[in-house]
């Protein structure tokens, strides 16, 4: 099947849905494709709590204060133009979502804002305990329903971007529920596929966040930036088994109630590490990167909890106060057999967000003309460490910007589609054959374990070197042609296509992590502790003859307004 549109948006999370809406508003015909269902997969629907934005209603605020906090969190590596755009455009997008009835929580006559770690004041809006993400997704889905000119297609996995004479001209996809190959001609293509947290054993995002967009961009010839910076969330749920809940759910309650982190010997330990952290705000003893460090070091020293993390305790909080703070969540915990008045839960750092991504200009265009990216899929706005609350804001802001720019490009371009340029990927899908392969679902978990153990938050030259050797071995074992079980919704084919992307992206993280001989933000080298001024630079990744190539670039200065 062959489809045509002005703009193709890949990924229907917050960024992709916003991009589609803005592109259609600018008059473009849009196809919004997702490998999952529209507005269901990805990270947005999982977002639990806060969205950072300088509204200034509750407390006087300005986007410049928000920018200062964003840059400080980014530890010197932010692309200031992108960070400023995030902070400056944020209020308009949040108010637009408000007009679309997302239901931001209110206090009196204004939208309520809370003080999250790393911010200098109360700045974060939210919908309700743990339901900000679902509300955001629902609101954008409703807007898609009302818009005209947007064709939504779920179960459509994009396999490759098609590039002709250096310009993006569409994509080749596999329709999962029928197995058929679909070619999509588009004058502008937007990557909105989110991050890469699925590369790690324990993560807080969806199954389909395997870094697809980074791999698509690399193979299309685009550049990636800051790929060594993977954000780990310090207190992801570890044990006992908890289902029906987001694994990072403990954070707001810990903040509200002062939940205590204890090591395996039931001793508090955060203070021991707090002296190392200049940005401690007193209430939240440690920022995300330092808390991840503290828990990991306790475990390494043999003082971890039984499942390999730390204990989180609310036992000092009276029952009534617990119930008031947790609300209906208490009942969902009870359904999981968890009674916080009687027991401790175990938490550990989990992969949460990716700072790196597609290198884009201020129009969200990659280094390949006609190829755009937005949301978590881009790099630069958050530098070496993301400020809490910036992820949903950037999804809206960069999604809208990408949609506008892609529509504008399409209005002045003619179709550039070429069957010949699409042929290699069409042939790849055609080459899928019934054959015996090692279980690729096992290969996925092997890769996740490798990344967690060797390319996790704390790295060494030795571990990173071993990881790269193993990634190369797995890639050669995967082979050049996918297996097939000869039927629709083919899990064998999906695993193979996923691994093809995941292995490429895993290497795109490990290679710059090995090269960066310092510790900064989310990239911590045990063999190179401490930030090195000489490393205040970005590393750029490209694919050169099928191999990952690494270059350096100086931090871009903010263009004068």
């Amino acid at each position: 099947m062959h489809l045509e549109s002005d703009v193709l948006v890949i990924g229907a999370g917050g960024a992709g849905m916003y991009a589609a809406l803005e592109a259609a508003r600018a008059g473009a015909s849009v196809i919004l494709a997702d490998r999952s269902l529209i507005g269901r997969g990805g990270a947005t629907v999982m977002a639990q709590m806060t969205v950072a934005v300088a509204l200034g209603e509750q407390t006087p605020d300005s986007w410049e204060y928000h920018l200062a906090d964003t840059l400080a969190a980014g530890r010197g590596l932010c692309n200031e133009s992108l960070s400023a755009m995030l902070c400056q455009d944020g209020p308009a997008r949040i108010r637009e979502m408000d007009a679309w009835k997302v239901g931001w929580a209110r206090e009196g006559d204004h939208i309520a804002q809370i003080h999250a770690p790393g911010h200098d004041r109360a700045r974060c809006v939210y919908v309700d305990v743990l339901s900000t993400g679902p509300a955001v997704s629902r609101t954008l889905r409703t807007q898609l329903n009302l818009a005209s000119g947007i064709r939504r297609i779920g179960d459509l996995a994009i396999v490759d971007i098609v590039v002709r004479d250096g310009r993006a001209c569409g994509a080749v996809a596999v329709h999962l529920s029928t197995g058929e190959t679909v070619t999509l001609a588009a004058k502008s293509v937007i990557i909105a596929t989110g991050g890469l947290t699925r590369l790690y054993r324990r993560n807080s995002a969806s199954f389909n966040m395997g870094g697809d967009g980074y791999a698509l961009a690399l193979r299309a010839g685009a550049e990636l930036i800051d790929m060594e910076f993977v954000q780990f969330f310090p207190i992801g749920h570890l044990a006992p088994r908890l289902v029906g809940m987001d694994p990072i759910m403990w954070d707001p309650f810990r903040y509200k109630l002062g939940g205590k982190l204890l090591n395996g010997e039931l001793q508090e330990f955060e203070e021991d590490y707090a002296t190392l952290d200049a940005r401690s705000d007193g209430k939240y003893v440690l920022t995300r990167d330092r808390a991840t460090y503290a828990i990991s070091k306790e475990v390494e020293s043999g003082r971890g909890s039984p499942a390999g993390g730390a204990y989180l305790s609310f036992q000092h909080v009276p029952d009534a106060e617990l119930r008031r703070a947790f609300g209906p969540v208490i009942d969902r915990l009870a359904a999981n057999g968890i009674d916080l008045t009687k027991q401790l839960v175990e938490v550990a750092p989990i992969a949460h967000y990716h700072m790196g991504g597609v290198r884009v200009d201020e129009c969200m265009q990659s280094t390949i003309p006609g190829l755009y990216a937005c949301g978590e899929a881009i790099g630069g706005a958050n530098g070496a460490n993301r400020l809490s609350g910036n992820a949903i804001t950037e999804a809206f802001v960069f999604g809208a910007r990408a949609g506008q720019a892609a529509a504008k490009n399409a209005a002045f371009a003619s179709s550039h589609w070429s069957d010949a340029a699409a042929a290699p990927t069409v042939d790849l899908l055609r080459s899928a054959d019934k054959r015996d392969t090692p279980n690729l679902a096992v290969a996925v978990t092997d890769l996740q374990a490798l990344m967690a153990d060797k390319v996790g938050p704390f790295r060494t030259e030795e571990k990173l070197g071993e990881a790269i050797v193993e990634i190369d071995r797995m890639a050669s074992e995967l082979g050049a042609a996918p297996p097939s079980s000869g039927m629709s919704f083919d899990p064998l084919l999906i695993d193979w296509l996923d691994l093809r992307n995941m292995l490429q992206v895993a290497k795109a993280v490990a290679v710059p992590a090995l090269a960066r001989k310092e510790s900064r933000g989310a990239h911590q080298r045990d063999d190179h502790p401490g930030l090195e001024e000489a490393w205040t630079l970005n590393q750029i990744i490209t694919l050169n003859g099928g191999e990952i190539a690494l270059e350096r670039a100086s931090i871009p200065k903010k263009a004068s307004a």
Partner: protein, 111 residues
């Protein structure tokens, strides 16, 4: 503990058949955990839908669990037999996967 999953499998073109898998589990684990264990340890060709992994946010893993429509990510594994089947009133795609997208969000059969 061991759970026995009796899974109704097939495609629109083949007669459905039931396959039985035994999986080890710990208290608190979900049916979705069990299905992922089946793919990992026994049969990687088993098809089922999910995105958010046990957070009950994406709502994609709806199926028939012991003759009741429910989410695989919130129903717990239990000792003994659990019967799993695709949603009865949705078009079958394969195994436990059905066509659950709204018609105007599909490639074919736009409403």
């Amino acid at each position: 503990m061991k759970a026995t999953l009796q899974i109704k499998r097939g495609t629109p073109d083949t007669a459905p058949h039931v396959e039985t898998f035994e999986v080890d589990f710990e208290a608190g684990q979900s049916i979705l955990d069990g299905l992922r264990a089946v793919r990992h340890d026994k049969d990687p060709t088993l098809a089922f839908r999910f995105a958010c992994i046990n957070a009950n946010a994406c709502k994609e893993c709806m199926m028939l669990i012991d003759d009741k429509i429910d989410y695989a990510c919130t129903v717990k594994l239990k000792e003994g037999v659990t019967m799993l089947a695709p949603l009865p009133k949705k078009a079958l795609v394969r195994d436990l996967v059905t066509e659950i997208a709204p018609p105007n969000e599909r490639l074919h059969g736009r409403g």
